[in-house]
């Protein structure tokens, strides 16, 4: 359950930020999940809620809201863009799982579907980011 490690980083970063903002209770945290990371949302949410117990400042039950970002991959060579979901079916289970662990492995196992170049970038939907923390002072 690799999701647990990422959930732990989210909870620790939330607590750190809330302390900086002098929040006493954290009521609402928005987490964006990039398509490339292929996180299992249910497991991730379970881990977030479990890890939130007994934190200071207090994280309210169900404070976490997960949003999924579709990916955009853009080729530096030909300028075309595409989504990871467009090419995922061409990958075997091991390749797809490796991208789940480290999204940049997409540069190893895939190429631009238009020109075949390995020189592309992830412009959207890479991994897990925190986008808002709300609470009560």
């Amino acid at each position: 359950m690799h999701e647990w490690a990422l959930a732990e980083s989210i909870v620790m970063a939330t607590v750190e930020e809330a302390r900086k903002e002098k929040l006493k209770t954290i009521t609402h945290v928005t987490v964006h999940i990039g398509e490339l990371q292929q996180i299992e949302k249910e497991i991730f949410l379970f881990a977030l809620n479990e890890l939130s117990k007994s934190q200071k400042p207090l994280i309210k039950k169900d404070a976490f809201v997960l949003k999924t970002d579709k990916s955009t991959l853009s080729c530096k060579n030909c300028g075309e863009s595409w989504k990871y979901s467009d090419m995922k079916k061409k990958l075997n289970k091991t390749e797809s799982e490796s991208i789940h662990f480290i999204p940049e492995i997409v540069f190893v196992h895939t190429r631009c579907p238009h020109c075949g170049s390995p020189d592309f970038e992830i412009t959207k939907g890479r991994g897990v980011t925190l986008t808002s923390i709300k609470g009560v002072r």
């Binding site: 490690a5 990422l6 620790m12 970063a13 662990f101 925190l130 986008t131």
Partner: protein, 243 residues
């Protein structure tokens, strides 16, 4: 607001590791991976709990030196590195399957952050980091995210190599990072240029590992590696810094 959460958890992942030693050079091809792998083997043979992290993301080679085949980390609240000859060994090679790895700078930093955030090392006496050449992203990221790193620097007897190694040493000294010393690797003659240059920079010169013709045949076989003259030379050097 967009916040990077992974940096928050790195310290926790490394907190049960007693010492972290980055084997670095600045120059490629001087034998960093060989020194890092054999250092990890040496420490493991002395009963220490040892981890080895290969951060050479374009050209990982520690797995070749240690003969790692058909191994993969297990998933348990992160990823747990497999144990190879007593060493918890983590490398990008588990995910790249020996295919070319065309990463740009920001990708490198993301990969390092991801590896540091999700790897569950557990309790270790030593974590050895096999650093890539250069003083770019990987070196800067190790300095930034692994604040407790001590550096063991490797050069060859070449003036060309030392030219670059001096720049790495100058930067580490400027940043007040602990430098355990410099190992002169693959020596063939008794010259003192490297020793003088290292001393000029006020860094500890640790000694020579002589060019060993038998070393290549021992690659992939840790038992044979342990018997090489290169390993014997390394052990004498490590004694000087109590490793």
């Amino acid at each position: 607001m967009t916040m990077e959460p992974r940096t928050s958890v790195i310290e926790k992942r490394l907190k049960n590791i007693n010492r972290i030693i980055a084997v670095a050079s600045g120059k490629g091809g001087v034998g960093k991976s060989m020194v890092a792998s054999t250092l990890a083997l040496h420490l493991s043979q002395h009963g220490h709990r040892v981890g080895l992290l290969d951060l050479d993301l374009y050209g990982p080679s520690s797995h070749i030196i240690l003969g790692v085949k058909n191994k993969f980390p297990t998933e348990e609240k992160g990823i747990i590195p497999p144990i190879i000859h007593g060493i918890s060994f983590m490398s990008i090679v588990y995910f790249t399957e020996e295919k070319p790895s065309p990463f740009r700078g920001s990708d490198i930093s993301n990969i390092i952050l991801e590896l540091l955030a999700i790897t569950q090392w557990g309790r270790l006496d030593f974590l050895i980091i096999d650093m890539p050449p250069g003083i770019g992203d990987e070196t800067l990221d190790v300095i930034r995210y692994i604040k407790r790193s001590e550096f063991l620097v490797v050069t060859t007897p070449s003036k060309v190599a030392m030219g670059t190694v001096s720049k790495l040493l100058t930067m580490l000294l400027e940043l007040k990072k602990p430098v355990l010393g410099v190992i002169e690797n693959m020596t063939m003659a008794d010259a003192s240029f490297i020793e003088q240059e290292v001393q000029r920079l006020q860094v500890r010169y640790l000694g020579k590992i002589h060019f060993d013709h038998t070393l290549e045949d021992s690659i992939g076989n840790p038992d044979a590696l342990s018997e090489t003259q290169a390993m014997k030379d390394l052990r004498l050097i490590l004694k000087k810094i109590h490793l």
